[in-house]
């Protein structure tokens, strides 16, 4: 069950996709803050919208999306999200032909994180087709999730029960995933 969230209500589709509106604007050249105290600056001298520029725009777009949820995330979680986005979406690691993480998938991840309060994920990734991946490491096992952006999430879980590893994998709604993860992590 999702924990209360102002205004307290069980999660429904409208709740999940309607964070409290936060007006975020950014200059096309000077960009909102990066992780680790660094400020990202978009070079002025790029003439063509090349790969690196598009990558940079996606990174900024995702950070702006995260900023819309900032009042519901601790500063530590916010920094971890920014830091993971920086790690994943940079020209040193990203392939031009790969699908960028979709805003819808990232929004699902953020909404779900806020509502479920399971903010203790270990790492983020980007799946094929732009899914937003997250992994939780619990004392009893590992849970991975791929947020697809349509209120659906594909998950895998490996949980040790009396020394025997029990594995499961499925695809379901954000709500179903919350129930599952809650039972493993709480």
């Amino acid at each position: 069950m999702f924990r209360s969230f102002s205004p307290s209500s069980p999660m429904d589709d409208d709740d999940v996709h309607s964070p409290k509106s936060v007006s975020v604007s950014y200059d096309r050249h000077l960009i909102v803050g990066g992780s680790g105290g660094k400020t990202l600056v978009r070079p002025d001298n790029i003439i063509h919208a090349g790969f690196e520029e598009r990558l940079f725009d996606v990174l900024v777009g995702l950070k702006v999306t995260a900023a819309q949820y900032s009042m519901h995330l601790t500063s530590n979680v916010r920094h971890r999200i920014f830091s993971e986005l920086d790690r994943l979406l940079n020209a040193e690691n990203w392939y031009e032909e790969d699908d960028f993480p979709t805003t819808e998938a990232f929004r699902d991840f953020l909404s779900w994180t806020v509502y479920s309060q399971h903010q203790c994920w270990q790492s983020l990734g980007v799946g094929n087709g732009g899914q937003m991946l997250a992994v939780w490491l619990a004392p009893r096992g590992v849970v991975t999730a791929g947020f697809r952006g349509n209120n659906k999430v594909g998950w895998t879980a490996k949980i040790d029960v009396d020394g025997v590893a029990s594995l499961s994998a499925d695809i379901g709604s954000l709500k179903e995933f919350d129930r599952l993860l809650g039972s493993y992590l709480d």
Partner: protein, 152 residues
């Protein structure tokens, strides 16, 4: 070149992009199950029917020399800094397939330009989403022997 089954005790190396790698609490590199999903059909390409990899024991030399040859073999243009090669045990992959009643085959199908080329066959189609994810999880969990940086 004819396709030949690779012995169970041998390994194949699967190229994994940095976005599909995470670090656990002990600092160990782990591979997301998504690295072992077949690519669905797109406008440009048909659905993938096997996972590409390279046959580790095709090469000879010390472990480090073999690894170096695997790095060159995977033919990725402009390899990125944090890309990894996951070493998969053939027997363990087949064992995981058996658990899901799948007949997983790992075949050496070297070509002139890539003599170590190998394929993992018998994985669920990407259209069977839950089943494909379950098998990918089993491979990630039980068949990955080690993970090596792709860029030496």
């Amino acid at each position: 070149m004819a396709r030949k089954p690779i012995p169970d005790e041998h390994h194949v190396m699967r190229f994994c992009r940095a976005r599909l790698i995470y670090t656990d609490k002990t600092g160990k590199l782990c591979v997301w199950p998504d690295a072992f999903l077949l690519r669905p059909a797109t406008k440009e390409k048909p659905e993938e029917d096997y996972l590409s990899s390279d046959y580790f024991e095709h090469f000879s030399g010390t472990a480090e020399q073999i690894l170096e040859q695997c790095r060159s073999a995977c033919k990725i243009v402009n390899i990125k800094n944090d890309d990894q090669l996951a070493q998969l045990n053939v027997g363990k992959m087949k064992e995981q397939g058996d658990k899901r009643k799948l007949n997983i085959k790992v075949l050496h199908q070297g070509t002139k330009s890539r003599p170590s080329y190998a394929g993992v066959y018998g994985l669920p189609s990407p259209t069977q989403e839950s089943e494909a994810l379950a098998v990918a999880q089993l491979i990630a969990e039980f068949a990955v022997n080690d993970v090596f940086l792709c860029k030496a």
